[in-house]
Every structure is written in C-alpha cells, then in structure tokens.
C-alpha cells in the first residue's frame, strides 16, 4: 500500500459521498441513543473538507491531512468534531515530511491518532464508541495488508458495537438500554475506512 496526496483527496471524496447518502441513516441511529445530529454534523464537516482540499495543491500527505483535521475541528462540532479532528491532526503530525506513505508509517500514524482520541475522549476500547472501530482496524495495516481485510474488519467491529453497553458519550445515559443499537460514530468510522479501502484498491 502506498498513499499519495491524490489518494487522500479521493479518500475524502469517497467518505463524503457515503456520509451524504447516509446522512439520514446516521441521524436516525443517533436519535435512538443520542441527540440525532451525528449525520448532519458529519455530512456538514466532510462537505467542507472536500470543498477545502479537492483541487488544492499539497506538497505532502501530511499537509493534506492537516487541512482535513482543521476543517473537521472547526466544522463538525459535538463529540465527533474534536475526536475526528484530533485523529487527523495526530495522523498528519506523525506523517510529517513524507512525500508518500506506506502501510507501516500509516499504521503508526493511526496508532497516534487512536491514542489522541482516547486521551481527548477519556475513553478506551469496549465503551461503544468509534474507538471500537479504529482499534481493530489499525491491526490490518500489516505487510500482508489488503483492502478487503480492512473493510471486513471495520464492518465486523462496527457491528459489534450493537451488543455493547455504552459507558462514554451521550449513549451512556441509556445504560443497559444502549445495548441493541449500533454506535453512530462507529458507523461513520466504518464509512471512512471503507472509503479508504476503495481508494487504495482503485490505486493499485
């Protein structure tokens, strides 16, 4: 796997498309366990990301990812905004200076991203948040990386949040009643990684 600036742009475009067409679905997931804005917020944020980076000129992947981070930070809001913002900022910082990115450096970037999110959200695996998607996904960026694996892992992880009890975020107010509902943030993270897989596949 190798990621270039153009791949980042494609990745963001694909993510944005998925978020726009699943905006209502994400919103209804968030209505069940939260406040019903996750779809609206993510769709607004990634639309802005695409406006910002599509067609722009970046020297490095890190530069492109930094603009993604700043845009998410300032346009999403809610819990998802600072979390996704932090993730992309850490990823960008970790990849600083690199013209292109292989799975190894991408993996350590994702690890820093995850650590950043956990710190920002004071959260850990098993709390029914997007952390539960990011954490297993990172493990797929091995030497034997393949996009189908990534999608499969992300999807399984996302589906697993259904049976979890939320202890972080707005869904935690529901206690046991959060069980049986998908975590909205995990679903949006699934779209993100599904788009990444598609991007990488298309580029191979």
């Amino acid at each position: 796997m190798e990621l270039h600036v153009q791949d980042v742009i494609t990745w963001m475009n694909k993510t944005n498309e998925r978020l726009q067409s699943n905006k209502e679905y994400l919103t209804s997931l968030d209505q069940a366990v939260g406040d019903g804005d996750h779809g609206i917020n993510m769709a607004r944020g990634f639309n802005e990301v695409v406006q910002k980076i599509d067609g722009a000129d970046y020297e490095t992947v890190s530069d492109a990812l930094k603009d993604v981070a700043m845009t998410l930070m300032s346009k999403v809001g809610g819990a998802a905004g600072p979390l996704y913002g932090t993730a992309f900022l850490k990823l960008s910082t970790s990849l600083k200076g690199k013209d292109s990115v292989d799975q190894e450096s991408f993996k350590s970037g994702l690890e820093e991203a995850l650590a950043g999110m956990k710190q920002r959200g004071k959260s850990d695996e098993g709390e029914k948040t997007l952390v539960d998607v990011w954490s297993p996904v990172i493990e797929t960026f091995t030497n034997s990386f393949n996009p189908e694996d990534l999608v499969q892992t992300a999807q399984t992880a996302m589906e697993k949040t259904k049976d979890m009890k939320a202890t972080k975020g707005r869904a935690s107010y529901l206690g046991d009643r959060s069980i049986g509902h998908l975590d909205p943030g995990s679903v949006s993270s699934f779209y993100l990684f599904e788009s990444l897989a598609e991007t990488v596949k298309g580029g191979e």
């Binding site: 406040d35 019903g36 607004r44």
Partner: protein
C-alpha cells in the same frame, strides 16, 4: 415538521441575525462566527464569563449576556456543541486581562471543544478557568460513566459566577463560587412531547398520546421511565423527590427554585407545578428565597418541564439577588 424557518440549514445564523437586530445596543456577533458578545467587551480587569453549547435551548445562552451575567455565548449548530475555534474567538474577544471563566455543561462534546479552546487560549497567554455543570439527577453519577448532564441549573451558575465577576472577584474566586453552585444545584426534567431538529425533519423520539417520559434530556436524550401522564402534582412530586434524594436539605435551609419550561409548555402549567413544589418545600421547613418560573433552558418545541433546586448560603443569596441586565434574566 411545523416550523417558522427559512432554510433548515441556516436556522442558527438566521436566529443570531434576528437576535442582534433586536438588541443592537447591547449585543454584537463576532464577524464570521456564531459567537455573541456584549457590545462593550472586553471589560478591563473584570473576569469575563463565557458559556455556550448547541443551539435550540433559547434563551440559553445568548439571552443571559448582560451586566452581572455572561460576557459571551458561543452558539453551536442545533444541539451540537460549538467548535474549539469559535470558543477560542469568544475568549479572545472578552478577555479584559483578568482571565476568562468558562461555564460548560457536562456533555462529552462540550467538554472536549471548550477544553481544546482553553488550551489554544492558554497558549496565547490568556488565563482560562472552567466549571463543569452536572445538575441532572436523571443520570447516574459514577466514575464509570460520563456523569450527570448539565441542564437548567446552569442558569444559576451563569448568574452567580457573573455576579461575582461583576463585583470584582478574581478568577479563582469566580471559580470557587461557581463550584459551590454546582455542588448545591440539582435538576430533573420530563417530557410530554419530543422536538424536531429542523435539519433532521422528524422528531427525536415518539410518545403515545397518553404517555410522558421522566428524565428526558434537553437534547431529546431518552429519559429513565415512560408512563401514563400523571397529574401536575404527581409530576412535581416525582421530580422534586428525586432531587431531594440526591441532595440533602435540612429544615431552615434557603433554596432558590426554578420551574423551567421545555419550550411548548404554557406558563399556566409551570405555575400549576410551582404551586405543588412550593407546598412540598414549605412543608419540609425550607425557606424559598426566590422562585423563577418560565422558559430558561428549552429544547425547541418540546412540551415538558424541569425543576431545579439550589441550596443557598449567604454568599449565594447575595450574588443571586445582585443586579443583572441580561434580557432573559433581569434582576
């Protein structure tokens, strides 16, 4: 969805434009933001108070800007915590050299966004302190959860921190009195109907024609129990009892009461609730220092109410009674 709006995507901006044109002498909107700031900001050597959160809770929070209360309100998208850059802009706009105090309601998003803004401000040498309001006893407070939510009790924090700052208190003193309010304020709400975020276009939940929900959050978060609609007195009793289980009042204690409407509840019903709450507190030997009845922390057009009790000592009484020019909380 029956709403008086233009584009559902621009409701927050449209509302803020209408707000500023209604209060052109006292309020301003920072350019290219959704931050409302008192017109005479910054006030040199006064600690400034900033609050905010998602929109849809009007008059919270911009209605509480005024002498003796808030200096700025950061208005997020509908029910969506504002972003760090917006909060940061508000901090820079109001800092008069004595530091900026943030009043944050305890929601993951609000806490993260305001904390990130505080980090940005501190990096620029602005002193920032904060308090996190968590008055909603409908939610369990344990170290394994995100803890209780911040709801209508937040208004008392605005008022008392604002009065302390107006009286010349230092940022440490403002923080300490705000923490005292948080330690002594408890609320609990209920809903008869849900509300609809304009861009979502459909209600956040549904309730049967004869059903109510106890413990609903101000963003339509599910509450703790659904049951047939009870009488006003039974509702008042259930909410008040839950609060009194959580915080101990002794005969002779002073208390401030807020009977808050969620948006679509007629004032008549709030006063009917107050009759019972007043009786219950008086029967326990409490002294009701002041009662506030009205729409203070709403949830769009949700029908329902919340009850807030604040235990008062002499300092809190003086600060609660101090003058305020905020349009939604004139004292």
């Amino acid at each position: 969805m029956k709403k008086i709006v233009n584009d559902p995507e621009s409701v927050v901006q449209d509302m803020l434009d209408g707000l500023i044109s209604a209060h052109p002498d006292s309020l301003q909107l920072l350019p290219e933001t959704t931050v409302v700031v008192r017109k005479d900001a910054p006030i040199t050597n006064k600690v400034s108070i900033v609050s905010g959160g998602g929109s849809g809770h009007e008059p919270a929070h911009a209605g509480y800007i005024g002498d003796g209360m808030l200096d700025a309100a950061v208005c997020g998208e509908m029910f969506t915590s504002p972003t760090p850059d917006q909060v940061f802009e508000s901090i820079k706009a109001v800092d008069g050299g004595a530091g900026v105090f943030l009043v944050i309601k305890n929601y993951t998003g609000d806490v993260m966004n305001f904390e990130m803004a505080a980090e940005l401000a501190e990096a620029e040498g602005i002193q920032v302190e904060k308090v996190i309001v968590n008055d909603d006893v409908a939610v369990e407070d344990s170290s394994f959860t995100t803890g209780r939510r911040g709801i209508a009790g937040t208004i008392f924090v605005h008022k008392i921190a604002g009065a302390k700052a107006a009286a010349g208190g230092s940022i440490e003193e403002v923080k300490s009195v705000a923490e005292k309010v948080v330690a002594n304020v408890r609320s609990m709400g209920m809903a008869l109907t849900p509300c609809t975020v304009p861009a979502a276009g459909k209600p956040s939940f549904t309730l049967e024609e004869n059903e109510m929900e106890i413990g609903t959050g101000i963003h339509g978060e599910p509450g703790i129990e659904r049951k047939p609609i009870a009488s006003a007195s039974a509702i008042a009793e259930e909410l008040t009892d839950k609060i009194l289980e959580d915080i101990k009042f002794n005969s002779g204690d002073d208390v401030a009461v807020m009977i808050n409407g969620m948006g679509a509840t007629p004032e008549m019903e709030l006063y009917i609730l107050n009759k019972k709450v007043n009786q219950m507190l008086t029967d326990r030997g409490l002294t009701i220092h002041k009662t506030f009845v009205g729409d203070y922390m709403t949830s769009l057009e949700m029908a329902g109410c919340s009850i807030t009790l604040l235990k008062l000592d002499d300092e809190l009484k003086t600060l609660l009674d101090a003058e305020s020019s905020a349009p939604a909380f004139r004292i």
